[in-house]
């Protein structure tokens, strides 16, 4: 067995992989938060709860309707996205003229309601979600065994993050989004239906969170608290990256996952807090965040 810096190779690479996977979830969640914040000026506290909902919907699809993992990957984000659409239309849109903290408070309440309802229905212990047959097993990479499903998650997450980036930075729809983030009234005065754009943005960000939830279901057990354990860390990720840049959110998310993984190897006691420590350092050195614009 080979070692690196006195650490057995498999342990190091194993933790690094875990770190990249966590980082993939940080990236997908902070991406959605950043896009929603840009358009709605709301910190969507319910993001973790909707991530959890994505995992639960895929679990329900499987156990109640016999719909498997791959269709769920599309269906669950669609279902939760429609839920987000209804939320924006009926509730969140009432907040745009108020102080921004009300958006935080409202979505915090929303998160409590969603999590509480799922806890009532399914308890807190969590339920397993089987890895689909096609992605069972592991591949020998020479220096480590890569469980196929984990490799799949990393790959898909990177593709989805880059696709989101491309849609926002490279397409016509993305140009409208960016413009509306800068000056929504003017974009509306050009004839763009900005309220609809806002609704779609919220639903899109939510769908992204739900998609992450489906990916997470076979890795973590499906349980009502899986979102809230993520979301606090994701807020730190968002503070570190700043919410001004899409690519910034992606890079920060993955990077912090890796840092967390390495900490687990070299100083496990600090692995839960290392992201927050990074946040402290970033706050001291560059208060706007690594990729932030003035807010």
């Amino acid at each position: 067995m080979f070692t690196i810096l006195g650490i057995p190779g498999p342990l190091l690479f194993g933790q690094l992989l875990l770190g990249v996977i966590n980082g993939a979830f940080y990236a997908m969640l902070s991406l959605g938060l950043a896009v929603i914040f840009g358009m709605l000026n709301i910190i969507n506290f319910a993001h973790g709860a909707l991530f959890m909902m994505g995992a639960f919907v895929s679990w329900m699809l499987l156990n109640y309707l016999g719909i498997g993992y791959f269709p769920s990957l599309i269906l669950s984000p669609l279902i939760v996205g429609v839920f987000g659409l209804v939320l924006e239309k009926t509730i969140i849109s009432r907040l745009y003229k108020l102080d921004h903290v009300y958006g935080l408070l409202l979505t915090f309440g929303l998160a409590l309601v969603i999590e509480g309802l799922f806890r009532n229905a399914y308890g807190s212990s969590g339920m397993p979600y089987r890895i689909p047959d096609a992605l069972q097993g592991a591949t020998n990479l020479g220096f480590m065994f890569l469980p196929n499903y984990r490799g799949w998650v990393v790959l898909v997450a990177i593709v989805v993050c880059l696709a989101t980036w491309a849609i926002i930075e490279k397409t016509f729809l993305g140009a409208r989004l960016r413009a509306a983030t800068e000056n929504a009234p003017l974009v509306q005065a050009f004839g763009v239906d900005v309220p609809r754009l806002i609704t779609l943005t919220y639903a899109g960000g939510i769908a992204l969170a739900a998609f992450a939830g489906v990916l997470a279901a076979p890795i973590y057990s499906v349980n009502p608290n899986m979102g809230s354990s993520f979301i606090n860390t994701v807020f730190a990720v968002v503070v570190i990256g700043g919410m001004g840049s899409i690519m910034g959110s992606i890079v920060t998310g993955f990077g912090l996952g890796v840092i967390e993984g390495l900490t687990k190897v070299f100083y496990p006691q600090a692995s839960a807090t290392v992201i927050f420590l990074v946040m402290v350092i970033v706050l001291l050195a560059m208060p706007r965040g690594l990729f932030g614009k003035a807010v």
Binding site: F172, A179, N183, L186, V187, A189, F190, G191, V192
Partner: protein
């Protein structure tokens, strides 16, 4: 074509427009003159539906637009070029140009816009719209609304802060688009510039229209105008 009657507008508690009345006929270039704070920009924004609260009547080709959201007013065929130009820094020059949706047939093609503003063609690849010079940004701001097919253009101080040679080019552009059948409502501080492009001038004070001077009678009314504008 555009008929404004008893238009009132408020920002929060402050009542800015107190019953503005005027009209712009098909194919005309009409200016709103007046001192700072007279309500010219607010009038434009009220026509576009960009003020928090407005009352009164703004009819465009017979359709009442007060009560419509800004995007529907734009779709009706009114296009707006704001003060400060409203160029988006997160959009490239060509994205800025293509941003406003087409609302009707008959707009200029991108090629025609580049013919009108040759500088823009050279700068089309610029990654941030706000990296253009002030004059280029103004051309972009006017160019992008010519594309949409809207026949009624609202231009808010298009010459503000620009070099004389650019101001002349803007003037040529306005005469050119008038010749193409567009109707223009122009807000101006600079009435000498206004005189070179406009058919009629409305003078605003304290949120009301207080006078109308046809361009042909401008010379004869110079004293009165100086008095209105405090120059």
């Amino acid at each position: 074509m555009l008929e404004v009657k008893g238009l009132n507008a408020w920002y929060g508690e402050s009542h800015i427009l107190h019953g503005v009345d005027f009209e712009v006929r098909d194919g005309e270039v009409v200016t709103l003159l007046g001192r700072n704070g007279a309500g010219k920009t607010t009038t434009m924004k009220s026509i576009m539906g960009l003020v928090p609260r407005r009352e009164g009547s703004v009819r465009y080709n017979g359709t009442e637009t007060v009560g419509l959201a800004p995007n529907f007013i734009a779709k009706a065929g009114i296009a707006f070029c704001p003060e400060e130009r409203g160029i988006f820094g997160s959009l490239s020059v060509s994205e800025n140009l293509m941003l406003p949706p087409i609302v009707a047939p008959g707009g200029l093609s991108v090629d025609e816009i580049y013919t009108l503003f040759p500088n823009l063609r050279e700068r089309a690849g610029t990654s941030q719209g706000t990296k253009l010079s002030g004059g280029e940004q103004q051309m972009l701001a006017i160019g992008r609304i010519l594309r949409t097919g809207a026949k009624m253009l609202l231009l808010d101080e298009p010459t503000e802060g620009l070099a004389p040679v650019i101001v002349q080019q803007i003037g040529r552009t306005i005469r050119e688009i008038k010749a193409r059948g567009f109707t223009v409502l122009l807000v101006e501080q600079n009435f000498r510039f206004a005189a070179t492009v406009a058919d009629r001038h409305y003078v605003m004070e304290h949120g009301r229209i207080i006078d109308m001077i046809p361009n042909a009678q401008l010379e004869a009314n110079m004293d009165k105008l100086h008095d209105y504008l405090g120059v």
